[in-house]
């Protein structure tokens, strides 16, 4: 098993944190993992992306030729990374911001009304947690408890956010599993 997930969006949307949560959760579950963030002259309002690779075997390259899953948090990220998704791969869209779908027909598309779900979970600021929950549930990347553990490891020392973030992750799981 080898799964590469590309997370992409605006700086400030918690894009790197999503990847970091997934990476920590996967490590704690005993999987091999690499987390490769984009870096550059990027800041709030700019673009941010990272690729997380999970495998039960040793991971050779932390950068892949293709992504199995693309998590697009805004329109420009969808435009930029849509061509890099593997045939039969999954594109997860932040439906609250992306009003047009991918052009490709050979991938699965999963739209998540992120802002609405995050509000239901308690705050719009938990949108990235809703997203990581939805992604993990959709492709069985990790069970709910491991995502929560990964969030707690990724945000060590920031315990005051744990309750809200856990609600966000749960909301994402529920949406992916029930469609509402």
């Amino acid at each position: 098993m080898l799964v590469r997930t590309q997370f992409a969006g605006f700086g400030g949307q918690g894009v790197l944190l999503m990847g970091y949560v997934l990476s920590n959760g996967a490590m704690l579950k005993g999987l091999n993992v690499t987390f490769f963030p984009s870096y550059g002259a990027e800041m709030r309002g700019g673009t941010a992306n990272c690729m997380v690779t999970l495998s039960d075997k040793k991971i050779a390259s932390p950068v892949g030729s293709q992504a199995d899953i693309l998590v697009a948090m805004n329109g420009p990220s969808l435009d930029k990374f849509e061509p890099t998704v593997a045939k039969g791969g999954l594109i997860v869209l932040n439906q609250s911001l992306i009003k047009w779908g991918p052009k490709r027909q050979d991938v699965e598309v999963f739209s998540v009304p992120l802002v609405d779900l995050a509000r239901e979970a308690g705050s719009e600021r938990a949108a990235n947690m809703v997203m990581i929950g939805a992604v993990c549930a959709k492709r069985d990347l990790l069970p709910l408890e491991d995502v929560v553990k990964g969030m707690q490891a990724a945000m060590k020392g920031k315990d005051k956010f744990f309750a809200l973030n856990t609600k966000g992750i749960q909301r994402g799981f529920t949406f992916a599993q029930t469609g509402k």
Binding site: S23, F35, F36, Y39, A60, G64, Q66
Partner: protein, 364 residues
């Protein structure tokens, strides 16, 4: 006790490993893509009773490291390509004065200020001495976070053992990628073997001095150079390190180090899945280069395919190792772009066919 497994960025890994290896002095000047390393040490070293100094320049940083090494401390400086160029004078002095230190270079794209994307175009500078004079520095090239932790320990050990600067050669990707790491047991600097050359106050013993200028008329410099060369021969004989993957039955052997080796290994795995007999030879020490080990593999019609994040630097060591024992192909991606396994697959296929579509054949 080894640490618990932790997800860590490469730059932080190097910093934490340095402290655990007994390093208690760091001086550096900021440059992307390795700023996380000094940032980490800025709080971690004081916590361990060590000293962190953000110097006013790279020249100052390397010379503070020289001073710390002269007093016996395990000392570290880090930078990225343009900053390492500025440090070359100090590295030459460290080599000339036989002082141990570790210099980390997280290479970025060049020449000049270039850009901050991963690159491996400082191979010549790292492996050929870099500064002036007849000297070499051992160069260790980690390919991931766990190995980076282990090679950081090794770098300090080699530096002390041979009284030489040692370079850890990474790149922007190795510095930024996060992977699970388990650190080796920490070393207490007080438990390290005493050094009989350091300047730590001469009460009760004869005074010492550490020079790099040898003006004597009795051939002192000549003798000193012969002594250095003997040391380099010893290092060459004893300290070559490398890794071989799937090379036994290979029709084509990729040769790559650092980030490039990770990408090449993915390519090798994908080709193997399709029945193509590909393998990977990964030098871990770039100087001394594992020449004999590579030479041994170059037989029976195997093709050697060198992949670098440069326009062609390590390929010269491959040519010196392999000679005319095997066909050598080269594919290089110069600084500024991170290639993917698909690029290397195309290269290896092309080299096997000999159609010259990706990369090129190199001849002596």
């Amino acid at each position: 006790m080894p640490s618990e497994k932790k997800l860590m960025r490469g730059s932080d890994t190097l910093a934490e490993a340095a402290v655990r290896a007994g390093c208690r002095f760091f001086s550096g000047y900021p440059i992307t893509p390795q700023n996380e390393l000094p940032e980490y040490l800025s709080w971690r070293l004081p916590q361990a009773g060590g000293t962190f100094i953000q110097a006013e320049s790279e020249l100052s940083a390397i010379n503070m490291v020289l001073g710390a090494a002269a007093t016996g401390a395990r000392a570290l400086t880090s930078s990225s390509s343009p900053g390492v160029s500025l440090k070359q004078e100090g590295i030459s002095y460290l080599a000339g004065q036989e002082l141990p230190a570790v210099v980390a270079n997280m290479m970025r794209g060049g020449p000049g200020l270039g850009n901050i994307a991963a690159s491996a175009a400082d191979y010549f500078q790292a492996t050929r001495g870099g500064g002036h004079g007849d000297y070499r520095t051992p160069v260790l090239a980690p390919a991931g976070c766990q190995e980076l932790a282990e090679l950081t320990f090794l770098a300090f050990d080699l530096a002390d053992k041979y009284r030489t600067p040692v370079m850890l050669l990474g790149d922007g990707l190795i510095g930024q990628v996060m992977e699970p790491v388990v650190f080796p047991d920490p070393i207490d600097p007080a438990d390290l073997p005493p050094k009989d050359y350091i300047l730590d106050g001469c009460a009760g013993r004869a005074p010492r001095a550490i020079f790099s200028m040898l003006l004597g008329q009795q051939g002192e410099l000549y003798k000193h150079n012969l002594h250095l060369q003997e040391k380099y021969e010893q290092i060459t004989a004893d300290e070559q390190r490398w890794e071989e993957n799937l090379t036994e039955d290979a029709d084509i052997i990729a040769v790559a180090y650092g980030t490039a080796s990770r990408i090449a290994m993915s390519a090798v795995e994908e080709l193997r899945a399709e029945g193509v007999k590909a393998g990977l030879f990964r030098p871990i020490t770039l100087w001394p280069y594992p020449k004999q080990a590579l030479r041994k593999l170059a037989q029976g019609g195997v093709k050697v395919a060198v992949f670098e994040l440069s326009a062609g630097q390590m390929v010269e060591d491959v040519m010196l190792s392999v000679g005319e024992r095997a066909e050598i192909h080269f594919y290089g991606i110069p600084g500024g772009v991170i290639p993917t396994p698909a690029d290397v697959i195309d290269f290896l296929r092309s080299a096997l066919k000999g159609d010259g579509k990706v990369g090129r054949r190199v001849e002596i």
